[in-house]
Symmetry: C2
Subunit: 795 residues, 2 copies
């Protein structure tokens, strides 16, 4: 159902080098060298082949035409006098060379020896590796200009051979990434080609050059493609100012991502632009900094044999952090490109070992396993990952039977409801008669669970009512009453907000919750039902809370933009998140005011206390159901904000609840299927630097006829004199006057009952001992869904 | 031609206070108090009246319904427990009060004594001052909710009375400005009302409370509206990290602007939202920080009598910085609101003195005077301020006679051309015959100037050709030849790029320049004309450069958005700038790499040296006319980037030139009228914090058929450990390897000849002695005009 081009099934490719193409001779049934090598790769089990399109001859001709030998030009002149290279090229050499270059620029054309393949059958299943030596981001703009012509020439040739995807040379120069990106954007105007930007996960020069892991920086031209170096101009000055300060590797990974972000932003998130992430450098053992790649279009992963280490028996395996990263990446079903497998780097296992090992990683990936296990949310959600659904509006629309059926499959939700009802019955004074009412009975699952709870409780004086306003579902209810429930249930047809009940009830059971808790108008419906709840009666659920976290996802941003509706970016969607990354981290941030990764917005309780009611027993206005929240998130790593992830948590009764809060759902209601999270999109992506803070405002608004949300975000960068850094020990509670996030310190009946592990221990620091933090506002997003026409829930 | 609602003619209002309304009795021919006060104000010369709509009675009722006495709630609970106020209100007082509040929320309605006026004639020429005590940004969301209902009620009443504009209570609480703004956005859905946000130019609490300039913070309810206080949460921590550090007042002015920026951004730059700038606080003597208001929709300026000081004779005058600010603001023709004129604060002049003084400021305003002086650009440009024009494309379109006529009015351009030609003739070897050719003669002004220069030079062996491709203009040329020039000129009809000339020429005179120099394809046209220039021949102009500066302007952003064309934000416009502010400052910035306020992008020289030419004498490709620039600007004060301002400077011959560069035009070609600057818009505004850096990339691109520009910007925030601050003395030259901005150190023949004053002394610091600067990327804009369909100049 999604149209994205970057999540086909996972596959494994091999990389054929120029050197292999040169050394091999055609033989046997294979008419050309390329056909022979391709057949060999396929017989070894590789599904696709990556190979260069051009030969050393082309590089030689282009270099002679377009470059002046470097030693002819002093480095000072070269870099800093504009137009200098262009001029000096003309000054330093024959005009005849420049004439050749002009002839080429006018009609770019390869000669036969300058390309590796010429036939359609040679190009089948081939991904083209574009000439790596093309400097699209050279300092000299003459070189950039000529590199762009050469790139367009090569892409046109790939397109002629029906090749679908080309992998571009890596960006190398932070100062000219915008020029690189502009060129890529121009190339994307060819509608038949997908382009992948090759990007080392960080600049390998960071590594000690004497380290065996550090790839040689002077790769010979005919060898396997070397891992390109990204020269990041400000890298020596990468943020290292406040605790927790990112380590140097983390900073370099952030810098590599920043380069990618600039490229895909300038290319306006074109879905034909993807990422070929080069995992040659060893990864750090801190998954936080790597999680941002989950939100990006990583379509290729480069894995040279040199990245593998030998295990105890001498077989090639990957270092632990790289293993984990590959396993996690398997959700995206990337194309894994293995190179150098035949070079004999490892003693045991032979060439086949690398491919088998990668397949083993896929099989043992948690996400792949979960998707294959009946009963998990991942299994249930197959095909729905990152797919935008409009939230249900059961108050306005009568649901279809098939919709009820889907949600009735949930094994956890109804179990917890039964437990809650059971517990409530047990705790009810023994002598009393109990009136129980299911408000919004649908096709009857909660009625059945109520009866089951009554039976288990061995209370024989429980009367059960069931109210339903959907006339179609009411037929099903009547049928079940006749065949199953008989006189143990009394059915009532009507809207709980206006229906006349024969008597007041003790226990009111409802399930009107949306992904964000109140977003299917549970508060408004239950306001109406409170008319017939006794003063000491209870509601199941007794309360629910809404939770938010800032989210990055190129995929969801593109999906929301693609919805052909002016308001597509002003509406929240129900989404099973996959290619997303939560940008927030736990921690107080520089201001000391930031809360946890996911923060609570607000709460609704039933029944309300001390409410003003009119003669009908209804609140005169809905103003008591307006809410707002002002949350402050700590953003540890640079990222792009595309929206907000919304979750809910409900207390049914006592310590029994329902939760889709990412850190608590497994403790509260593991494997519950009924709710995917909510996604509140932003119209324009907002760039957030590492170690910054994000202030999110969200409002639940209401008038006489409608309820809607509006949301907004502002970003701040903190800055603290380095001499005054606070040690990350010294964990002391914040003075309550400084707590802005309501998630801290609010007791939850669910938390009290369940050990939440380390996640729940919010780290706080003593503000008064810290030097005053400096916060500088750096950006904001637009407001969305601002009332009026874009209101989205009718009352 | 512009549709903006915020630049009507300037006017002066008076403010009628609640107290005056209470104390006055109706008398004489005036049926009501309001009518009497209004008639009095008009008789004193005020054009409009600002007055409150509600009385003390309304405040009393609203307060009793919606607020709990503050001392009932401990301050800790109040501010930090969400929903606490709402709950505590219910707990602490009678449900009957809450019932009253609910009844009001359901049907908001004033009683007669709660409003000041009731009749249409009372509301004529009245601007409503909304109840100042409404806290739209209160900490408590119950109070905010009720304040919003009260605001909507009051606006509806104003609208009922046909009032056009309402001035809103000032935002007070930085933490909840987003809530304030959301409310304003909701109110703007009433299409009949314009809203102005009252904003003190900075928080008056900054001032020493003992100072006589500091207004009393406890204004009594019936007195004139007090200057509202803006509580800026992070104000104690405002940027103070690097030199030059903004002074405390500057920081507070930036903070006030930041509040306004957030409000109008959330309101999506609605043109019915304007600013009522309160100038009660004394202004600092540093115009830089105030210039940002020039780019904003300042429609009202509040000037209480207490802001005036007494001059030597005891008459009220304004402090110098306030005088200057008001004079500069007169371009916007604001509504100046004088209050307290009758309170007798100053010994001399009486009530009339304030109004007369403001009128005196308007008369003596430089901008107003310039607009009234024949011969100035301001006079010439009347009605064209901030009006977007598509740049001319004289190569593609044949110009109309009226267009030629407009530009021929320029007294300066043709004078400088004649001087340049004259000088060139004088410097030409005496014995030689000289062939002079005007390429692109139009209706002949340069031909006439050439002949005049020849005459003055007393060279009798000069032959003059004139080429023109516009067949219509060619008729005019023939007419002038017959009537004026006779055989002193030989006319040739055709395109200079292909025309066959009877002989080669020594001096080629052309005027093909656009606002950005090369943007009307002068380089491409002159490439063609070089065919018939002798090897030692000269071109007038001999070179030209393009210049850029980052620009803020709400007005231009809205104008560009309003163009009903998908590509409206991907096209540069010719604009006479008025409501704009250049965001850049001179100075190296934190990186040490920033250039001056306006920076040079690139240069074109004619004739080109060492060029490769084909058999026809033409360059085989246009690649030599591609250009790119990567500029780094220092941003001293927070602002919003809406686009780039483009300028050109041309060297005609020797030290004679043409310039619209804002710092050099007066020295090079004062009062030249022919070119307004170019405006390159950005699709999305980019927020730039104070003391940040902006990296701008711009490309001049070309293929066989087209030339176009693309542009992009990225912002960086600098951060330097405070202990390591560099003293602002120690001015030493940058090592050349660190100079990225080409404007530095490139000798200009125009600068050599003309003393540019202090502007030209670029302040540089010695980088090696500085600690490494930390730069953090914080944002970027989208790329625009990216080739293809959006190309905009045909070759």
């Amino acid at each position: 159902m999604s149209t994205s081009s970057w999540s086909p099934s996972a596959s494994i490719s091999t990389l054929i080098t120029t050197s292999a193409l040169t050394k091999t001779k055609p033989s046997g049934s294979h008419e050309t060298v390329a056909l022979k090598l391709i057949a060999e790769a396929q017989s070894k089990g590789y599904e696709r082949i990556c190979m260069p399109l051009t030969t050393e001859a082309w590089r030689k001709r282009w270099t002679e035409m377009c470059l002046v030998p470097y030693d002819d030009v002093s480095s000072e002149t070269k870099t800093f006098k504009r137009e200098s290279r262009r001029e000096s090229r003309l000054v330093l050499r024959d005009l005849s060379v420049e004439s050749k270059a002009e002839a080429w620029r006018e009609n770019p054309c390869f000669e036969r020896d300058e390309v590796t393949i010429t036939r359609l059958d040679e190009a089948e299943n081939v991904t083209a590796i574009i000439s790596e030596w093309l400097e699209l981001d050279a300092e000299d703009d003459g070189i950039r200009y000529d590199a762009e012509i050469a790139l367009q020439q090569e892409l046109a040739y790939a397109s002629y051979l029906n090749i679908q995807t080309a992998i571009l040379p890596a960006p190398r120069n932070r100062h000219h990434v915008a020029s690189y990106a502009r060129t890529v954007r121009a190339c994307l105007q060819n509608p038949f080609l997908s382009l992948a930007v090759r990007l080392p996960v960080y600049d390998t020069a960071v590594l000690d050059p004497s380290s065996p892991l550090s790839p040689s920086s002077s790769a010979s031209l005919s060898s396997a493609p070397s891992t390109p170096r990204l020269v990041v101009s400000n890298i020596a000055n990468v943020p290292n100012r406040t605790s927790p300060s990112p380590g140097p590797l983390e900073a370099h990974i952030d810098a590599a991502w920043e380069t990618w972000d600039l490229i895909r932003s300038i290319c306006d998130y074109n879905i034909r632009l993807t990422l070929a992430l080069d995992l040659t450098p060893p990864l750090p053992n801190s998954p936080g900094v790597l999680s941002k790649w989950a939100a990006e279009a990583v379509r290729y992963i480069f894995l040279p044999a040199s990245t593998f280490i030998a295990n105890a028996k001498g077989y090639p395996v990957l270092p632990k952090p790289t293993q984990n990263f590959i396993r996690d990446s398997m959700t995206h079903r990337p194309n894994i490109v293995i190179s150098g497998a035949s070079s004999g780097l490892h003693v045991r296992g032979g060439e086949d070992a690398y491919l088998q090992y990668v397949k083993h990683l896929e099989r043992t990936s948690t996400v792949v396993q979960a998707a294959g296990t009946v009963g998990t949310v991942e299994y249930f959600a197959q095909g729905y990952q990152d797919y935008l659904q409009a939230p249900l509006q059961p108050l306005m629309d009568n649901l279809q039977s098939i919709t009820y059926q889907t949600f009735e499959q949930d094994p956890v939700k109804y179990r917890n409801y039964e437990e809650a009802i059971h517990k409530a019955l047990l705790e009810w004074p023994q002598q009393d008669k109990i009136i129980l009412c299911v408000a919004g009975a649908g096709r009857g699952p909660l009625v059945a669970r109520s009866l089951s709870a009554v039976e288990r409780s061995k209370r024989d004086n429980v009367h059960v009512y069931a109210i339903e306003k959907n006339p179609n579902a009411f037929v099903t209810l009547q049928n079940r009453q006749r065949s199953e429930w008989k006189d143990r249930v009394r059915l009532l047809f009507g809207d709980m907000r206006v229906i006349q009940m024969p008597e007041k009830v003790d226990i009111l059971v409802s399930e009107l919750l949306g992904s964000f808790g109140d977003n299917e108008l549970s508060p408004e419906c239950l306001d109406g039902a409170m008319r017939f709840l006794k003063p000491q009666g209870i509601s199941i659920p007794s309360s629910y809370t809404a939770h938010l976290a800032p989210l990055s996802s190129s995929k969801l941003y593109n999906e929301a933009r693609a919805v052909k509706d002016e308001k597509s970016l002003e509406t929240p969607y129900v989404v099973m998140f996959q290619a997303v990354n939560l940008l927030s981290g736990d921690g107080p941030g520089l201001s000391g005011l930031c809360g946890s990764q996911v923060q609570e917005c607000w709460e609704f309780e039933h029944p309300r206390k001390n409410s003003v009611l009119d003669a009908r027993g209804l609140p005169p206005t809905n103003s008591h159901n307006a809410r707002s929240a002002n949350l402050r998130f700590y953003i540890p790593h640079a990222g792009v904000l595309h929206g907000l992830a919304g979750y809910f948590e409900a207390v049914l009764y006592g310590n029994i609840g329902l939760s889709i809060h990412p850190h608590r759902k497994d403790q509260v209601s593991k494997d519950m299927l009924s709710w995917f999270p909510l996604f509140f999109p932003f119209k324009e992506p907002l760039y957030l630097p590492g170690n910054s803070e994000l202030q999110v405002s969200i409002w639940r608004l209401t008038n006489e006829r409608q309820v809607w949300y509006e949301w907004h975000a502002e970003s701040f960068l903190g800055s603290l004199p380095s001499a005054a850094r606070v040690p990350s020990s010294g964990v002391q509670p914040l003075p309550s006057s400084l707590i802005s996030s309501p998630t801290m310190g609010v007791p939850s009946p669910l938390i009290d009952a369940i050990d939440l592990g380390p996640r729940s221990s919010v780290i706080m620091r003593d503000i008064p001992d810290r030097p005053a933090a400096t916060l500088v506002k750096i950006g904001h997003t637009s407001l969305h869904n601002a009332g009026g026409r874009s209101s989205w829930i009718g009352l």
